[in-house]
Structures are given as C-alpha cells and as structure tokens.
Amino acid sequence: MSKQGKGLWRRLEEVPREVLYLLIFLAIIVPTVSPIGLAVPISDEAKAWYNTVDKLPAGTAVFVDFGYSGGGEPELGPMAVATYHHMLRKKLKVIAMSTSLEGPLLFERAMAEVGPEKYGAKYGVDYVHIGYIAGTETAMAAVGKDLRATTTTDYKKVSLDQYPIMAGIKDASSFQLLICFTTGGDQSEGWVRQWVTPYKTPYIANVLALMIPTMLPYRKAGQLLSLTAGAQAGEVELLIKVPGRGIKSADVISVCHLLMVAFVILGNIAYYGRKASGG
C-alpha cells in the first residue's frame, strides 16, 4: 500500500513537461478561439495611468520611449496602442524615441493598429518618432540635455526642422510627461536617473510583468506616477473605451494562471503526500 502510494505521489510530482506544455497550450488556445469573458477589474495603477494622461491639456508635449523588443511586443504593444489612442484623442503632442533597436519598426506597427487618422492626427504635426538612439542611459542623458544636438532627423531620416511638432522642443524641460514602454530594466530605471531626478519630469512606465518587482521601489518612492505591466492593457482599454488586444488576452492570462495555481496546489499535495507515506 505504502509502496503504491509513494509511486502515485512521485508520479504526481513528476508530471512530464510535455503534458504541462500541452495543457498550457490548450489553456491559451481555448479562450482565444472561444472567449469566456471573465471580469477585468480595473486596478489603481491602471486608473493612475489613465488619469495622468487624461489630465494633460491639449497641445501638451509628451515624450515616449518605444523601448520594447520584438519578444516583448505581445505584452507591451497593446498598452502602447491604447495609450496612443488616448493621447491622440486628447490632441497631445507626442514625440517618441527608441532605446531598443526594434523600436522604430514596432512603432510603425503600433501606429498601423492605432490609425491616427481617425483622430485627425498627422505624422510630424501631432506625433513623431526621432528614431533609435544608441547608448541607453547615454542616449537618455543626451536627449534630456539637448534633443536637437543628439539627433537632427527622425527615424525616416527626414530633418526634424520640417516637422511643426518639433517647434519649441529643446530638452527634457520641454515635456510635461515621460512615458516608457520597455522590456529592459536599464531603460525603465535609467529614465529615473537621467530625467526624473535631474529634471523632475513626471514619469509613467509600462514594463514586462517580471520587471514590476524591480520597479516597485521607484513607484513607492513617488518617482513614478504609475507603474503598469503589459497585461494591464485591457484595463486601460476599458477606461478609454477602445477594446483591443489587451482585453482579448485577459481571459487567456486568467485561465493560464488558474492552471498554474492548480499545479502548485497539486505539487504541494503530492510533496506532502509522499512525505506522509514515508517517501
């Protein structure tokens, strides 16, 4: 009996990884094909994100770091899209750069998804991307000190002088808000060191969920006005009333997490069961 019991507990503890992956794939595919419509409660951070952008008056200059990589696009892309919807609808002047190499490509992809024309927004007048600037913190410091000395062209290599949006833009003091979408800790923390501390620029960041614990001390210290994970895009989409990929992923994430919780409980039961049966 004891031997049989031990075997069962051991088998439960060592579920083959192929089985785990198959269940995870099913947990992703089923809600994708047939959405369940689980509730998406709106967190305080998502509200703070929305309110920070929403309270800016039309014409305010906002600086955005499109700093995520291709791998992080599924998580951060929806929030970038939702935020651009909000900013362009509010008629803010949005000037973006990228601290990641793929940034300009992902910016184009995000803009195609946003469709700025439906808000009457034009490239160079209401929004612009000044390109990928190498060096991470060196780039942040340089742009903060003198944007026009750092680069004279946008990502399409067109002179910034040709864009009306760039009139009066000189350095970090020209912006009333800094938004960072990033997959890198160097970027999300670098902005605190290079812009928030010296220039007191209000700052909100959307990072990979796994970066949240690292960034929380900055949020608690008030250096960030809002800190969100990419998975919270659905909440912001609800607030701005533009449903998108964020809402779609909410079901999947919830089901996957429930599956993980089930596995953790099962693993613990198996562990203590094996111990109790003398294993």
Partner: protein
C-alpha cells in the same frame, strides 16, 4: 510556420526547431549589423562630414576596440573600453544616490503606522519590519549576528525574500503567457485566415511530429553512421 517550429522545442528537439532558431539568430545578427552601421553613419559620419572634426576621436577609439582580436596589440582595446566604462559609470552615478537610495529611504521613513486605517498601518509596519530584517540578513561582516536567538531575524528575512521571489516568479509567468498568447493570437487571427493555411497547418504539425520521433526509430532518413 516559424512560430510553430519554435514552440515545438517545448515537446522535443527537432530539425525544424533548429532551422527556425538558426534563421532567427542569423536574421537578428544581420539586423543588428545594419542598424550598427546606420548608427555610425547617422550619429558619427554625418556630423563629421559637416565639420564636427572632434568625432575623429570617437572613430579612432571605436577602431581601437577591435584590436582585442589581435594577439599582440589586444591591450590597446582597454583604452576605449575604459572611456566607455567611465562615461557609463559617470552618467549613472550622478543620480544613483538620489534616485536609488535617498528617495527609497525617505519613502520608507515616511510610512505611517498610526493615524491611518488598521490595514494600512499593519501593511506599513510589516513593510518596515521586512526592510530592516532584510538589511540585517545581509550583514556578513559579523557572522555571529545570525547565530542563536538572533537567527530568527535572518530566518524571517529569508521567508520575506522567498515571498518576494514568488511574486517575481508569478510575474515572470505572466510575461511568458503573454508572449505565447501573442503568437497564438497571430496564428489564429492573421495566419489561419490566409488562403492555404488550413491545409498547411496539419501538414506542418504532421512533419513536426515526425521530426520529433527519435532518429533510430524513424523509417527515413536513417541516422548517419559515425565514421
């Protein structure tokens, strides 16, 4: 198809995964080289040709970096490297103390235990205790402070850190699920509706399943015999 090939590693290594992996690495390397050259032209060469002659120093330092591949002159690469390290440290240090020490200590010291609702007070008290005990945990100079009855402080700190790591792990899972969902959503909404995709999908899956069969058990191709 590349998405499916890459995901197939979750089940077993196979030739399609290897092909997709190598293609991705090659494409990423090519992309980086193109952007690297473009950056040198955009931020170095263009200003240089317009009269910013000091850029020649940056070019020289950049070229000297490559001496590390020379057996005799590799030592020269240390000079540009030291410049890069110096600039990096100088830039990050100018605000590190304020951004990463003073602000955090201030915010912790400003936490209220009394005069707030019970839950907030308890939460703040717990936060302060955890901060102090975790700092205590990392006192390595005097090992005796972790022995005997004092060991309970380190033990508490360890549990607190474990809870923190658990939170990080859960967040990491969240990120990974999002990544998988992004690909699955792309396959479902963008790829499957394409003409021929519904025919291609089962073919790809059958080929993948076949490629996962160990080489010795496959009817074809037979594994090559070691020479």
């Amino acid at each position: 198809m590349f998405s499916l090939w890459i995901f197939s590693i979750a089940f077993r290594d196979n030739v399609f995964f290897k092909f997709a992996e190598h293609t991705f690495v090659g494409a990423a390397a090519g992309h980086n080289i193109v952007y690297g050259v473009d950056n040198v032209l955009r931020y170095g060469w263009t200003p240089f040709t317009k009269g910013a002659l000091l850029y020649v120093v940056a070019f020289l330092l950049g070229i000297v970096l490559y001496t590390r591949y020379h057996k005799k002159y590799f030592w020269m690469s240390r000079f540009p490297l030291s410049v890069m390290v110096g600039i990096g440290i100088g830039l990050s240090m100018r605000a590190t103390v304020t951004a990463e020490f003073i602000a955090q200590i201030q915010s912790t010291a400003a936490l209220k235990i009394l005069g707030v609702d019970a839950w907030t007070g308890f939460s703040n008290l717990l936060f302060i205790i955890i901060v102090l005990t975790v700092v205590y945990f990392f006192i390595f100079t005097f090992p005796s402070v972790h022995k005997g009855n004092l060991g309970i402080i380190s033990k508490f700190a360890r549990y607190a850190m474990m809870a923190s790591f658990g939170y990080s792990f859960a967040n990491a899972l969240l990120s990974r699920f999002n990544m998988i969902f992004g690909r699955v959503d792309f396959l479902y909404t963008s790829w499957l509706p394409l003409p021929g995709a519904m025919v291609a999908l089962p073919i790809v899956l059958i080929l993948l399943a076949y490629a996962m069969i160990p080489a010795q058990k496959r009817p074809w191709p037979k594994p090559s015999k070691p020479s």
